[in-house]
């Protein structure tokens, strides 16, 4: 396991410095995350571990640009996203980041293929007339071509997570983020899904960052980063 200091010296996809995420409640300030320096090497796979409340999900949200740090800098793929406007962070996320969720988070009203094609629409990388075909190819890649016209309700958990992975790689992102991607799956599927996730990330040369409690998941990563317990909602004055 590498320390923050060691991570900071590697060629990086993500660079974070002096990052603090705080929120205020009841007139008091709570620190959710406090990271002096943390870098993630380009093209590698990373396991993000730490006890509940250590800020794993907050870190994923920070890197994806869903939230901004209270202070500090977050640089992803050479872009300081912490300085970007909401609109530009949305566009950045659509183009360069793919996210896999614990609960799959597919749109129930859409077929598997449309769920994948939907993500393409936000990046604009793929012309509209090619999206259905590309989505079908991606579903083929995750072994779901025959199920591409099924809606999520007709898919198993494992299949839904495959669709979620296909959606995450729809825009060939340089960074793949996964927050507890196997937590909602039957135990037997963890290895299969993680192997799939790692393989697609490697095939596309994407950096993969997976937050998980599961040792089986973390064991498949190139490197592990454990968030210190001090990040547990430390109370600041």
């Amino acid at each position: 396991m590498r320390t923050f200091a060691e991570m900071s010296e590697a060629p990086d996809m993500i660079r974070m410095s002096d990052v603090k995420v705080e929120f205020r409640a009841g007139g008091r300030s709570f620190t959710l995350l406090d990271i002096p320096n943390l870098n993630f090497r380009r093209g590698a796979t990373f396991g993000l571990s730490g006890p509940s409340g250590s800020g794993k999900s907050t870190l994923i949200n920070l890197i994806s640009g869903l939230i901004r740090p209270t202070s500090g800098t977050v640089c992803v793929d050479g872009v300081i996203i912490s300085d970007l406007s909401q609109r530009r962070r949305d566009a950045f996320r659509a183009e360069r980041i793919g996210i896999v969720f614990q609960s799959f988070n597919l749109i129930p009203a859409l077929t598997a293929r449309d769920n994948v094609a939907l993500a393409m629409g936000f990046s604009g990388k793929i012309p509209p007339h090619q999206r259905a075909e590309k989505a079908a190819e991606l579903l083929d890649r995750v072994g779901l071509r025959k199920r591409m016209l099924h809606k999520p309700a007709a898919l198993s958990h494992g299949e839904m997570q495959r669709v979620s992975i296909a959606r995450a790689i729809a825009n060939r992102p340089k960074l793949l983020l996964a927050d507890e991607p196997t937590a909602s799956l039957e135990p037997g599927l963890t290895v299969t899904i993680m192997d799939l996730l790692v393989s697609v990330a490697r095939e596309d040369g994407a950096t993969l960052l997976v937050a998980s409690h599961d040792p089986q998941v973390l064991a498949r990563m190139d490197e592990l980063v454990e968030l210190p317990s001090t990040n547990r909602a430390g109370i600041a004055p």
Partner: protein, 450 residues
């Protein structure tokens, strides 16, 4: 997939709820359009019918009742006026056209109107074209000849050459309560082409037919039967002291009078219910009104003005109905807001997911806004169609029951304004949940289940 495409998928994913929400809009819009269309069309039709003549002379009483009675055959008359008034007006060079009316009898609920050929000008004034009869240009000329309105012919099945017996009064009563004129059967001599005026549901005959009928049955007259020599008759009253003595005399003279429909001296005891007058000039009309104003028991009415007053009474009811209809649209729009608010709450996680995979806030807003728009547009268009249909059905029902034809106006600004307003209100209502949804805290909704 575009926001519109996504909105359509969401709409299709819960069809029952969205259809019900759209139905709410449709009902409100249809009410507004039905009320507004019927009201506007009824006003136009009324003005067309009432505005054709400058002056209505009738027995004193309610002007509205006189107009409804003479022009629409919808109310019993206020009484009768002496034939001398008719004679005087005919002698007056300022009166260009005078159409006399005599009421009192009916056949199967259709009023029998004693009048002259000049009544055709009333139809022409209302429709803008000369009335057509079958056989062509055949009008009631001799006593007990009858010209049927198109609706009468259709509803009674009477044809040219058929005979029928009138009943006294304006409504059809059970046989034991009604008094018929079996001794004076009418013969159908022609049938009017559908004119979409009150004429459609009336039966026209000569003035003399009514005089003869009621001379034979003097107790059925609205007013007293009196000889012309008695002059200064008891206009429009219900005095009966002369009835019996005049009856026999009146009967004979009535038959004689029937030979000359336009005789200046009508049958003994003859009465006129009302007169429609068209003056040569407005000055003549004003002079006639002043002169008639001097007479007891006679009123000179401007039919167009009275029709406007009647419409004014109707407008109060219309305003209440319209207010209620618009209120129902507002409530339907609130239902749109509630429905989409519920949808956005139900879809919080999906909305957060869309944001996480790169959808900007504007996309989230547009999806819900388009959903509101589709519901409102479909509901409003369906409501417009339903409103027109409702107006058509009600107009047909009114025509069937009262004979008052409402010529529905072509689709126009009423429909356009109502539809656009309903859509606008719906979009405003839809914007609220759309705005709230796009401001939703994404990370809160994406948090992994613990």
């Amino acid at each position: 997939m575009t926001p519109a495409g996504l909105a359509v998928r969401y709409l299709v994913s819960r069809p029952a709820l969205n259809l019900l929400t759209a139905l709410g809009i449709a009902v409100g819009v249809s009410l507004v359009i039905a009320v507004a269309t019927l009201s506007t069309s009824a006003q136009k039709s009324t003005q067309e019918i009432a505005g054709g003549y400058q002056l209505l002379v009738a027995a004193k009483g309610s002007p509205a009742q006189s107009v409804l009675s003479t022009l629409f055959f919808m109310e019993p008359p206020t009484g009768n006026i002496p034939t001398e008034i008719y004679d005087e007006l005919r002698a007056d060079p300022g009166a260009q056209v005078i159409v006399p009316f005599n009421f009192g009898d009916s056949y199967r609920g259709h009023p029998i109107v004693g009048t002259t050929k000049d009544y055709r000008s009333v139809i022409e004034a209302a429709t803008g074209r000369q009335p057509v009869t079958t056989p062509l240009n055949r009008w009631a000329e001799a006593p007990f000849e009858a010209v049927l309105g198109a609706t009468v012919a259709r509803q009674t099945g009477l044809r040219v050459g058929d005979t029928f017996t009138a009943l006294h009064g304006f409504v059809e009563l059970p046989k034991d309560l009604s008094e018929d004129h079996a001794h004076s059967p009418y013969t159908v001599v022609s049938i009017l082409e559908q004119a979409h005026t009150p004429a459609d549901r009336a039966i026209f005959t000569t003035l003399e037919s009514i005089w003869i009928t009621h001379a034979e049955n003097p107790h059925l007259m609205n007013g007293p039967v009196a000889t012309r020599s008695e002059a200064a008759p008891q206009e429009g009253t219900n005095e009966h002291q002369h009835e019996e003595e005049a009856a026999h005399q009146g009967h004979d003279e009535a038959r004689e009078a029937g030979e000359d429909a336009h005789a200046r001296t009508p049958v003994r005891g003859a009465r006129i219910t009302s007169l429609l007058v068209h003056g040569r000039s407005y000055a003549d009309v004003a002079r006639l009104v002043a002169a008639l104003g001097q007479k007891e028991s006679v009123q000179a009415i401007y039919p167009g003005r009275v029709a406007t007053q009647i419409m004014g009474y109707m407008r109060t009811g219309e305003a209440v109905l319209l207010a209620l209809a618009w209120l129902s649209i507002v409530i339907a729009c609130i239902a749109v807001m509630i429905s989409l608010l519920a949808a956005s709450i139900e879809r919080r996680r999906q909305i957060a997911t869309l944001r996480a995979i790169g959808a900007p806030r504007s996309v989230i807003f547009r999806v819900l806004f388009i959903e509101a728009g589709v519901i409102c547009v479909l509901g409003s268009l369906a409501g417009a169609a339903l409103g027109r249909l409702t107006a058509r059905v009600i107009a047909a029902k009114i025509e069937a029951t009262s004979g008052f034809h409402i010529d529905l106006l072509a689709l126009g600004t009423t429909e356009l304004i109502t539809v656009m307003s309903a859509v606008g209100l719906g979009l405003i209502a839809g914007a609220v949940p759309a705005y709230l949804a796009c401001r939703e805290d994404v990370t809160k909704q994406l948090a992994p289940a613990s």
